[in-house]
Structure formats: structure tokens, C-alpha cells
């Protein structure tokens, strides 16, 4: 029996039942059973006896009414209240809201004795959610209980904190919980770690300063505390694996001990030592070892051991094995382990136990991307699973097939998916699968007909639940076409023909989205088909318009199509009839379309001009509406107010109504943000401002109409997928929809699969069929690894494209945010700030340099390269070993390396790399870091230098060619990072780098989402004999993006009042800086804050996060403490800065 049982039983003092009247300790039913006479008992009994839902509802409503009366009566004792709470919990569980009791639950937790408190806390945790307003009332109780001398109370408080706690109140309990980490009882320590884990999840910035304590918890003598700390580590490593590589050894040791059965026996579950703990550790190791040969090497032994130990046949060992396999395939590969893991997967997949089979398929799906050969080994099993009676297994198998699809097997796999789709009813499954089919079809389609047919199936099966991207991408593909004009037209023609055929069927009902696609294609390209009279098409569209099932949105699409077709034809009765019919339509949009059509028909020349053939890709809309500038300027000249967006007008109205605005301002960007946005533009003042905002509003209006949004939609199919292959040309003759496995096989020259060798003779008919299917499915896998490699590269590029698209939209949204908030309600600042900024631009620069002069200490070890050039000599002794560490993390722990004389190191590195890059002259003048090496290979070396310019962080990347021949087409690509935004493009190409030469590229970076430290990674690839890729990562700190912000004390005051997010914290000052000015100058120098004013024992500072999010800081000293009070329009910024301040103050 597991420890869980023992521990729980010891913790549970038979909590409730024993003290209820009528139930003696150890009463009839055992410790927890309720007597049949209790109120709750009778309630449950009567509910169970009921037969209909209606009766139940009536009974519960009665119960709730009586409960409501009881809980609000002042005479109700706490004991009775406790009982009421339990009944309320029961009612809520059945789905009847009992919000009237919430406040009483909190009261009970506050006032009751131990047992009552317990129920109170339980009720709170069940009733409330994270953002519930009543939760704030609990904070005081929690604080009180945390300070209690009674262990049980402390435990309860910690438990509730680890379940739900309001984010903004964390500072109130954090110190108390930190203390509990040193508590003598392990249960308290464990719960404290759990509470901190919760904090880490909801507000990572606030617990960043106690990372050392997590390490202590990891080394705790009690295994439970250690186990609890693993959750925090798993989470932290997920976010940033490179920061915890040094702990790999510890995790490996722990796993070794667990696997070796060194933990107390009560951690065992069915004689397997701490299985869930093992799984947790395996996951952590997988994350740490990913793409890192050195770290992976450390864990090979223990993984081998885990595989060996888990050979008992029990579900839980399967779970461990599954995790092992995943880890083995995640980390840097080692052939022996891979072999064993593959064997393990084989055992799973072949198992008659259905759950195990599922697990095996899941593992296979994961593994198959690394090793397609495995699919070949298990192809027969996969085929069997495809026809498995359990749809879940089928679906998992399709998922697997999706991963191994290539240009040669796409037809069969897509067919299988469509078959499944036809049976499936669950909406979510349909959306998911339809998306996958569309993706595969775009990527690998062998020919036009097949592609169009497949997409038709996607649209008709997927119906209106398909993701809007699918029709958009499809239409974009048709519109933009690819290199070959003739091919384009063929594809379009085929589409038109197939749609006409579909519309031929009178009664067929197609989903709206499909109809929209059809009508767009018909409108654009029907003129390509010469043998069909436009009248016929118009008739069809017209009959569609009259159907009642067609939504008005689809009608717009159809009308647009009619208009386009009408522009190519001379004169049409149908069009005239349409105009007549819809000129009186009650639908305003339809009426407008009809009128437009009417007027256009009267002026054919204009119409043709307006609707040129194949004009969908020509960008005719001037989104900035610059042609209105004159109008706007005129209006402004007459004294009209500049345009303000709706929400802003409302805000202003609100602020005028009240003398004091008690509403929080939310996340609006304040004046300084927008002001710089305005000044940053090329044409000054009102004119450009007017056109920008109006352009913005026009853009949103533009989006709402049904026009296709063509920007940033990925275009994949064209180049990669559409490569007509010889084998498929043969298969082309078959009607694509009726492709059967057999006929396909006839047309395709499959690689003979490995398993097929000599068994063929003895196979039954059915088996032969399966074999055939297998050979069509697994074609192109394994033996010709080139194909699968290509497939991989495909996904990589595709991912990249998608991401960049997201980013584009994000940044454009942001931009519009900025514009929207322009000229917000802090009028006076708007005028003053820009002037200020101009005035002291030069000043900032000098200050910046000064500040960074002293910044050597604040940066963490792995940021060592930030040391400014000027410090190079003096700081060399400390710094060099560190920067070497980043080169060779293998020696991260060895002290020998660190004490190596720095002179030597320098010589060494100098002799190794003759090509030491240096900054250009104009950059050399700015504040900048040392040039450090990022990574190198035989041919290339990458160096980085950070330059802190006024408006961004400039990353200067040097690429030096170490070879003796020139390198062509070297591509430098940064990956999209969650926290950072690279201005301009993320990629850079060096057309040629001469032998023994250095080229450099510059990228400007902003911090997009606030974090104290983040990683920007990227890669360089170049063509030598083969395509080579070199990866690197750059650590960026919040401080890199902080710049001082000059302002006057009055401005500070105004801005201060307008900001809503604040964070307060007291920091102990060290003896070296016990005076306020000393402390402030530390902050000024190290964090680049600007000191606005110092008055007595109070000081005010200001800074901004690039591009221009302000953050204000108010400091006050009292009795050796420095009280910091941050305010900013951005809620995460104060947290981040606070963390940096704490670090700076601790270090100095």
C-alpha cells in the first residue's frame, strides 16, 4: 500500500463524522461514515430516491431556501454553520448555485475551531475561483493562520494558498511562507513548497528572488519536500532549460536513488518505487537533455537503469517505460538506448491489452519523426489499428500517419482520414482532422484534380466548423498561383468545372463556407472556362440566392460573384432580373449591391476597369487613407477637434463627469507612449495624425466586410507541394475519389518494405491486401531517408511562416493600440514630454554610458558579456572564465577552469580565432558590451555585441568565415521569441562571406512581453558540401531594455496619479549605501533609472521600457529599509523592475 494511504490516515483525524451528534467515534460505518439520521444523510437519501430531474430540482430549491434562512440567521452556531456548509457543497456539486453561502464559508474559515475551520476552507476552495472578489476577504485569515502555533492551522492555511490565492495579495503572505521553508516539520515544508509553486504559476516574477531556496528544498532530507520542489523545477525548466543545466547531475542522482529503491518503503506503489516521482524526473531530464549532447551524456546510464528496472508487468511500469521512451527520443540520441526504447515500443504496440496498445501508438507517433524506420517495422500493426473497432485507437493511428505523410503516400492517408471523418460526429474531432487534411493536401497534392476534390470533401464534410484559415488559404492559393501561368489556369479551370458540376445537383445542400468559396471562384475565374455560357452560371447563382437556407453573408459573396461575372458579359437577362428583384429587398446590403450592380451595368467601361480579370491579388486599397489628408487638414484648420476613437471619447466623458476617477485605468498606454509614437512619425503634427487614426478606423471597417484577408496568409502548397512526380502521373488516370488501395498500388512503384521478404507465399488474401495497403502507406519512408528529411525541413519552414504571421498581426494590433491611445487624457504631458526628450537626448546618452560603466555587477554570470568595453581590462579577471563557460558548459562545475589565469585564456582564444571582430566606429561611440562568442563550427564563428541605443537594443552579430574559401548564401535567422520583438525582419542573408573575413548584421530588438530575463535563439545555415546549421542563443535581460526617462517633478506628479498598477516592497539596505542618495545612485547606475528629485528621505525616479512604457518609482528610507513603490501603466513592469532592484541592492 502506498505511503499516501498511511499518511492520509494519520493526517485525517476522522475529521467530520466523529464530532457530529449521533455518530460516535468509530461508529457503525467506520471513521468517516455519516449516520443516517443527520440532515445531510436524509437529504442525500431523499435525492437518491427521486426519479425525475424535475423533482430533484424542487427538492434542492427547498433545501437551499431553508439553508439560506439558517446561514443568515444571527443565532446560527458555528457548528450548525459547518453542517450547512457541507450541505451547500453537496448542492453545488449537483449543479445548483448557492452563492449566498460563499461569504459564510469565509467567515467559518475565519472564526471556527479546527474542524469548523477545515470545512470553511474546504468550502472556500470549492466555491470560489481565482478571480473571485470575495477571495480578498480570506487573506487576513490566511495570514493569521500562517502565524499560528497550531500546526494543523498552519497546514490548512498553506493548503488553501496552494489551491487558490489572489495574485495581487502574494506579497502579504510571501515572507511568512518563505519562513515555513525552514520549519522543522516536513509536512509544513512540503506544503510551503507547494504554495510557492502556486505563486510561481500565477506570478513568476514575485518569487524570483527565492530561487536559492528552491534549491534547498530540492536537497531537503525529506523526500516529500524534494518531490514537491520538482514541480517548480519542471515548470522553470520548461520555460528556460539552459538556466538549469547545472542541476542535471542532481536530478540524475535523485532518479538513481529512486529507481534503486532508496526512498522510504511507503513511497512504493505496488512495489514500484515512487512511480509518479520517476515520471516527473524523466520529464525534467528530457527537457534538460534536448539537443544537448553533453547534458544527455550524463543521463544515459540512469535511463538504461530505469528501462531495466521497469520490466515487471504492471500498468504503472508501463507508464514509466512510456516516459522513458519519450525522454530517450527527446535527448541527444544514443544508439543502444534507442534500440531498447524501440523494442519497448514494439512490445506496447503488439500487446493485446488495449490500453497498452494506445500507449504504444502514442509513443510511436512521438518517435516516428526522429526515426521513420520504426514505422516500417510496425507497419502491419498500424494497418490493423487503422481498422480497429475502437475509434480512439483509429484516431491515434491517423495521427501517426499524419506525421509520416509525404508526397508519395498522401493519397492513401488522406483517403483514410476522410473515411474516418465520415463516421465521426464529434465536432472537435472534425475540426481537428479537417485542418490536417487541408494541410496535407496543400503540401503534398500530386495533381490538380486530386487537390480540388480533396478540398471539396474538406469543405463539405467540415461544414461551417472549419477553421476560417482553410478557405482563406485555399482561395489565396488559387489567386496567387505559382510560377507556371498555365498550371495556374488549369487548376482554376478545374475548380470552376468541379463547382459547376456540384451546383448541378438541385437538392444538394452545401455548407455556407463552401458556397462562399464556390461563388468566389466562379466570380473570379468562370471566364476561363470557354465552353460554358455565363448565363448558365448566373442562373445557378441566382437560384442559390433565392434559397432560404443561404445566410445573408453568403448572399453577399454570391452577389459579388454575379457582379464580377456581369462585368465580362455584354448583357444579361438574369442580371437585369436580379437587379429588379433585389432593388426592393428588405436586406439593406442586398439592396445596396443591387444598386451598385445596376449603375455599373450602365457603364460597362467603368465596370471593366473596376473589376479587371484576375485582379484579386492587386492591392488597390490605400489603407492609410492618405487621400483624405487634405480633407482632415482642412477640418483641423477650421478648428475641428482631432478624431478620437470611440473608447477614448467615452473615457473622457467619464472623467469629466466625476471629480475623482475611482475606476482603475486598466491597461491603456499613457500619453508618453503615444506622444513618442506621434513624434516618431515623419510628417509632423495634425496632418499625419489625422490620417493615421482615420486610416486605422478604416482598416477595422475593412476587416468587417467579407473581403478576403490576404495579408500574411501562408502560401505553402505552391512550391513545396506541387511537384508533379512521375509515379503519380501514372496514378492520375484513376478517378481520384474512387482511388482504392489496389489500383493505386498498380500505379505506384513502391519500395519493397523490409518485412515483406519471404512470407508472401504463405499469406492469405486478406493479409495480402493489408500488405498492399502497407506498401502504399509506408512508401518513401526509411530507406530513402531523403524524403523524410525533406518532410522535416518542410515543417520547419512552415512553422516559421505561421509564426511570423501571428507576429505580424500582433504587432499591427499593437500599433493600432498605440494609435488609439494617442492623445489620451493626460493632455499637458503630451505637450511637454516630447520636448523634454529632445532636450536631453544627448544627456541620456552620456548617462547611459555612465550607468553601464558600473553595471558589471548587476548582470548575472551568464550575462557576463555585457561588461562594457571600457571595463574590459579591469574586469577581465572575473569575467573571462565566465564567458568561457558559455563556450564550454561541460566544465561548468569544475573549479580548475575558473582559476585558470585569465591572460592565458585570452591568448588561447586569440590564437584560435584570428578573426576578432570589432564594432564600426559610429557604434563604438555608443554604450556597448564586449564582443563575445556565441557559437562556432569548423567553418564559421559567431560573435555578439550588444549596443544599448536610445530607442532599442541593437544586437550586432558578427559572422566570421574561418575557412579558406568564400561561403555563399549564409542565412542568419532569429526564431520568434515570446518575449522579444525583432524590428524589421527576423532573417538576414549574407550573399557571400569571403575567406577569413568577418561580416556583421544588426538587429534592433524590443521587449514585447515583460520578463526579467529571456532567451532569443536563432540559427545560421550555410551551404558547404552539405546544408549545415549552427544554432545559438542570446540571453537578454530586462535591464537591456530599460532607459532613463527625463522629466520634471511636476510631470512626475501628474503621471504618477494617472497610473494604476502599483507594487510596493521594502528592501533592506546594506551598510555601504545606508543613505538615500547612495542607494538611489546605485539604482541609477545599474538600472539606468533617472533620478527626478530627492526631497528629504524620499526620492523619485523614472525610467521607460523601450519603446516607451514609463515606470515611476518612489523611494523612502526608514530605519535601514528602503520602501520602493512602483507605478506603471503596464502591470508586469513593476514586478520585473522590483526584482532587478532587489538584485542590485543585494549585490552591492
Amino acid at each position: 500500500m502506498s505511503d499516501v494511504v498511511e499518511r492520509t490516515l494519520s493526517v485525517l483525524p476522522g475529521l467530520l463524522g466523529q464530532h457530529d451528534p449521533g455518530v460516535g467515534p468509530g461508529g457503525a460505518g467506520g471513521p468517516g461514515r455519516v449516520s443516517a439520521t443527520s440532515r445531510l444523510g436524509s437529504l442525500i437519501r431523499s435525492i437518491t430516491a427521486l426519479t425525475s430531474k424535475h423533482e430533484e430540482e424542487k427538492l434542492i430549491q427547498q433545501e437551499l431556501t431553508s439553508l439560506k434562512a439558517t446561514v443568515s440567521a444571527p443565532t446560527t452556531t458555528l457548528r450548525l454553520m459547518k453542517e450547512c456548509m457541507v450541505r451547500l457543497i453537496y448542492c453545488e456539486m449537483l449543479g445548483y448555485e448557492s452563492s449566498f453561502g460563499y461569504i459564510h464559508a469565509i467567515k467559518l474559515a475565519q472564526q471556527g475551531n479546527l474542524l469548523e475551520k477545515r470545512v470553511g476552507y474546504l468550502a472556500v476552495s470549492l466555491f470560489l475561483h481565482e478571480n473571485h472578489e470575495l477571495l480578498l476577504l480570506l487573506v487576513n485569515t490566511v495570514v493569521k493562520d500562517l502565524q499560528s502555533t497550531n500546526l494543523v492551522e498552519v497546514c490548512m492555511a498553506l493548503t488553501i494558498v496552494s489551491q487558490i490565492f489572489p495574485r495581487e495579495m502574494i506579497p502579504a503572505v510571501l515572507p511568512l511562507i518563505e519562513d515555513k521553508l525552514q520549519h522543522s516539520k516536513e509536512i509544513i515544508r512540503r506544503k510551503a513548497v507547494q504554495a510557492l509553486y502556486k505563486f510561481y504559476l500565477i506570478a513568476p516574477n514575485q518569487v524570483q528572488h527565492i530561487h536559492d531556496k528552491f534549491r534547498k528544498a530540492l536537497c531537503d532530507r525529506d523526500a516529500g519536500v524534494m518531490a514537491a520542489s520538482l514541480h517548480i523545477y519542471l515548470q522553470m525548466i520548461k520555460e528556460n532549460s539552459s538556466g538549469y543545466k547545472d542541476l542535471t547531475g542532481s536530478f540524475v542522482t535523485i532518479l538513481k536513488q529512486v529507481v534503486g529503491g532508496k526512498l522510504p518503503i511507503d513511497f512504493n506503489y505496488h512495489s514500484v518505487p515512487a512511480p509518479w516521482l520517476q515520471i516527473q524526473l524523466l520529464r525534467i531530464l528530457g527537457l534538460l537533455g534536448k539537443d544537448d549532447p553533453r547534458t544527455s551524456e550524463l543521463m544515459y546510464d540512469v535511463l538504461d537503469e530505469s528501462l531495466r528496472r521497469a520490466e515487471i508487468n504492471h500498468n504503472i511500469t508501463y507508464a514509466i517505460l512510456f516516459e522513458c521512451v519519450q525522454t530517450i527520443y527527446t535527448i541527444y540520441p544514443k544508439s543502444e538506448l534507442l534500440e531498447k526504447a524501440a523494442k519497448c515500443i514494439g512490445k506496447f504496440v503488439l500487446s493485446p491489452k488495449i490500453n497498452l496498445k494506445y500507449l504504444g501508438l502514442k509513443a510511436l507517433t512521438y518517435v516516428i519523426q526522429q526515426d521513420p524506420n520504426l514505422a516500417l517495422q510496425h507497419q502491419m500493426t498500424i494497418i490493423e489499428c487503422l481498422d480497429h473497432p475502437d475509434p480512439i485507437i483509429k484516431r491515434e493511428t491517423l495521427e501517426l500517419l499524419y506525421r509520416i505523410t509525404n508526397g508519395q503516400n498522401v493519397i492513401v492517408i488522406v483517403q483514410k482520414m476522410l473515411d474516418y471523418l465520415k463516421e465521426s460526429k464529434e465536432e472537435y474531432a472534425i475540426i481537428n482532422l479537417v485542418g490536417k487534411i487541408a494541410e496535407l493536401a496543400e503540401k503534398y497534392a500530386p495533381d490538380n484534380e486530386w487537390f480540388i476534390q480533396t478540398m471539396n470533401a474538406v469543405f463539405s464534410v467540415g461544414g461551417d466548423v472549419v477553421h476560417p484559415d482553410i478557405p482563406n488559404n485555399f482561395l489565396r492559393l488559387l489567386a496567387e498561383g505559382f510560377d507556371d501561368r498555365k498550371e495556374d489556369d488549369q487548376l482554376r479551370m478545374y475548380a470552376v468545372q468541379s463547382y459547376l458540376a456540384l451546383l448541378e445537383e438541385e437538392d444538394a445542400l452545401y455548407p455556407q463556407k463552401f458556397l462562399q468559396v464556390m461563388s468566389w471562384v466562379l466570380g473570379e475565374y468562370s471566364s476561363l472556362v470557354t465552353d460554358v455560357d455565363p448565363e448558365v452560371i448566373l442562373t445557378k447563382l441566382h437560384s442559390l440566392l433565392k434559397k432560404t437556407v443561404i445566410t445573408s453573408e453568403t448572399k453577399m459573396w454570391i452577389m459579388a460573384a454575379v457582379t464580377k461575372i456581369a462585368s465580362h458579359t455584354s448583357c444579361s437577362k438574369i442580371v437585369d432580373r436580379l437587379i429588379q428583384e433585389f432593388s426592393n429587398s428588405l436586406d439593406t446590403c442586398m439592396r445596396q449591391y443591387a444598386f451598385e450592380l445596376k449603375h455599373l451595368c450602365e457603364d460597362k467601361a467603368l465596370m471593366r476597369n473596376l473589376l479587371p480579370f484576375d485582379g484579386s491579388c492587386n492591392d488597390m486599397v490605400d489603407a492609410s487613407l492618405s487621400f483624405l489628408d487634405g480633407f482632415v487638414a482642412e477640418g483641423l484648420g477650421r478648428g475641428a477637434a482631432p478624431y478620437k476613437p470611440h473608447h477614448q471619447r467615452q473615457e473622457e466623458k467619464l472623467s469629466q463627469e466625476k471629480a475623482l476617477n475611482f475606476e482603475p485605468y486598466g491597461l491603456s498606454f499613457v500619453s508618453s507612449v503615444s506622444s513618442s509614437g506621434v513624434t516618431g512619425r515623419q510628417s509632423p503634427t495634425g496632418l499625419s495624425f489625422g490620417s493615421d487614426t482615420s486610416g486605422n478606423s478604416a482598416e477595422t471597417g475593412h476587416k468587417e466586410t467579407n473581403t478576403l484577408k490576404l495579408e500574411g496568409v501562408r502560401r505553402l502548397w505552391g512550391k513545396e507541394g506541387y511537384l508533379p512526380k512521375k509515379e503519380n502521373k501514372v496514378g492520375k488516370e484513376n478517378e481520384p475519389q474512387t482511388v482504392s488501395c489496389g489500383s493505386l498500388l498498380g500505379g505506384q512503384v513502391g519500395d519493397p518494405p523490409a518485412l515483406r521478404s519471404d512470407q508472401v507465399a504463405s499469406l492469405s488474401e486478406e493479409d495480402k491486401e493489408k500488405q498492399q495497403l502497407a506498401s502504399t502507406l509506408f512508401i518513401g519512408l526509411g530507406s530513402n531517408a531523403g524524403v523524410s528529411l525533406m518532410g522535416k525541413a518542410d515543417t520547419a519552414t512552415q512553422k516559421f511562416k505561421r509564426k511570423s504571421k501571428i507576429n505580424e498581426t500582433q504587432s499591427s494590433e499593437e500599433a493600432s493600440d498605440f494609435q488609439n491611445s494617442a492623445a489620451s487624457d493626460f493632455g499637458p504631458l503630451l505637450d511637454t514630454v516630447p520636448i523634454n526628450m529632445e532636450d536631453c537626448e544627448g544627456d541620456i546618452r552620456t548617462r547611459l554610458r555612465k550607468a553601464s560603466l558600473c553595471s558589471s555587477d548587476i548582470v548575472e554570470d551568464n550575462l557576463a558579456f555585457e561588461t562594457p568595453q571600457s571595463l574590459k581590462k579591469s574586469g577581465l579577471d572575473d569575467r573571462l572564465p565566465d564567458s568561457r563557460l558559455s563556450q564550454s558548459s561541460l566544465f561548468a562545475d569544475s573549479n580548475i577552469e575558473i582559476f585558470q589565469p585569465s591572460q592565458n585564456a585570452q591568448c588561447e582564444s586569440a590564437s584560435k580565432t584570428p578573426l576578432v571582430p570589432c564594432l564600426s566606429e559610429e557604434l563604438e561611440e555608443l554604450t556597448h558590451s564586449e564582443v563575445v562568442e556565441l557559437c562556432q563550427s569548423d567553418a564559421l564563428a559567431l560573435y555578439l555585441c550588444k549596443v544599448w541605443t536610445d530607442d532599442s537594443l541593437l544586437l550586432v552579430v558578427f559572422v566570421s568565415n574561418k575557412t579558406t574559401s568564400a561561403l555563399n548564401a549564409v542565412n542568419l535567422v532569429f526564431e520568434e521569441a515570446e518575449h522579444f520583438q525583432i524590428l524589421e525582419s527576423t532573417a538576414y542573408q549574407f550573399p557571400v562571406i569571403e575567406a577569413q573575413n568577418v561580416e556583421c548584421c544588426q538587429k534592433r530588438v524590443w521587449m514585447d512581453k515583460i520578463c526579467t530575463q529571456g532567451i532569443l535563439s536563432g540559427s545560421v545555415n550555410y551551404q558547404s558540401e552539405m546544408e549545415t546549421r549552427l544554432e545559438f542563443s542570446i540571453t537578454l535581460s530586462l535591464v537591456d531594455f530599460i532607459r532613463p526617462m527625463e522629466m520634471t517633478t511636476e510631470d512626475f506628479g501628474k503621471l504618477w496619479l494617472s497610473l494604476s498598477n502599483d507594487v510596493k516592497q521594502n528592501i533592506r539596505m546594506s551598510s555601504s549605501q545606508d543613505s538615500l542618495p547612495a542607494a538611489l545612485s546605485t539604482l541609477q547606475q545599474k538600472l539606468k533609472l533617472h533620478i527626478v528629485d530627492i526631497i528629504g528621505n524620499e526620492g523619485i525616479l523614472a525610467c521607460q521600457l523601450l519603446p516607451s512604457v514609463p515606470c515611476l518609482l518612489h523611494c523612502r528610507t526608514h530605519s535601514g529599509m528602503l520602501a520602493l513603490w512602483f507605478r506603471s501603466p503596464c502591470s508586469a513592469l513593476p514586478d520585473g523592475l522590483l526584482y532587478q532592484c532587489q538584485k542590485v541592492m543585494e549585490e552591492s
Binding site: V4, V34, A36, I89, M93, H129, L277, F322, I393
Partner: protein, 128 residues
């Protein structure tokens, strides 16, 4: 990550529910009804994991009582499957003979929810 933990009997009556991600009360009833429908539709020889919406259900049947856990993609189904059993073992020990509990008198469930909760908390520590 575990999203919720349910105990529902064959008649569709919820015996215990605990959500680790906030779900509106009125949506809970619907969700529970659909989940039990899903579980009941499966036969013994089908696997104990169901893909449901964007998450997965892992269920185990004990007599007339289903224990269902909702998990997300990253979770290891088999480990959760065993976790359920572990939990039932705990109940079994605590109530001496848990198998009769739901059949005879479904009274204790609510108390279960209390005891379960502190019990489960500990196990969950390795999950949530």
C-alpha cells in the same frame, strides 16, 4: 495537468466532483452528463482513454461507479489511470469496504469529498 476529477455513477448522478480549472456551475452539469454518456458508451474491450474536445478523459469503472479524470495533452494517460486506482485503494482502506459504499448508501460521498480532498491533495502534488 489534471483538469478535473469526477465520480459519477451509472445513473449519471455525480458523487464527487473537483475542478482544478474554473468551470461555470451550470456548465459543469452539462459537462458531467456528456462525460458519463461517453464513458457508458464504451465497452470493456475498448481502451480507457477517450479524446473529448480538446482534452482527454481517463476513466476506470468500479462496480456501478465511474471515476473519471480530465487531463490535457501533456499528461501520461497510463500514469493517471493508475493514480485513480491508487485513490480508490486509499478510500478502500479508509472506509474499510469502499465497494459497498455507492451501492448501499451513497451517504458518505460528501464526507469523502472532504477526506478525499486532503488525501488527494498529496497525491496530486505530483500532478497539479
Amino acid at each position: 495537468m489534471i483538469k478535473f476529477f469526477l465520480m459519477v455513477n451509472k445513473q449519471g448522478q455525480t458523487r464527487l466532483s473537483r475542478y482544478y480549472e474554473h468551470v461555470e456551475i451550470n456548465k459543469r452539469t452539462m459537462l458531467e452528463a456528456e462525460i458519463i454518456k461517453n464513458c457508458l458508451s464504451r465497452s470493456k474491450d475498448q481502451c480507457s482513454f477517450i479524446e473529448y474536445k480538446d482534452f482527454k478523459l481517463v476513466y476506470r469503472q468500479y462496480a456501478a461507479l465511474f471515476v473519471v479524470v480530465g487531463i490535457n495533452e501533456t499528461e501520461n494517460e497510463m500514469a493517471v489511470y493508475e493514480l485513480i486506482h491508487n485513490f480508490v485503494e486509499v478510500l478502500d482502506k479508509y472506509f474499510s469496504r469502499v465497494s459497498e459504499l455507492d451501492v448501499s448508501f451513497s451517504v458518505s460521498e460528501i464526507h469523502l469529498s472532504v477526506s478525499f480532498w486532503c488525501t488527494f491533495q498529496f497525491m496530486l502534488s505530483s500532478w497539479h
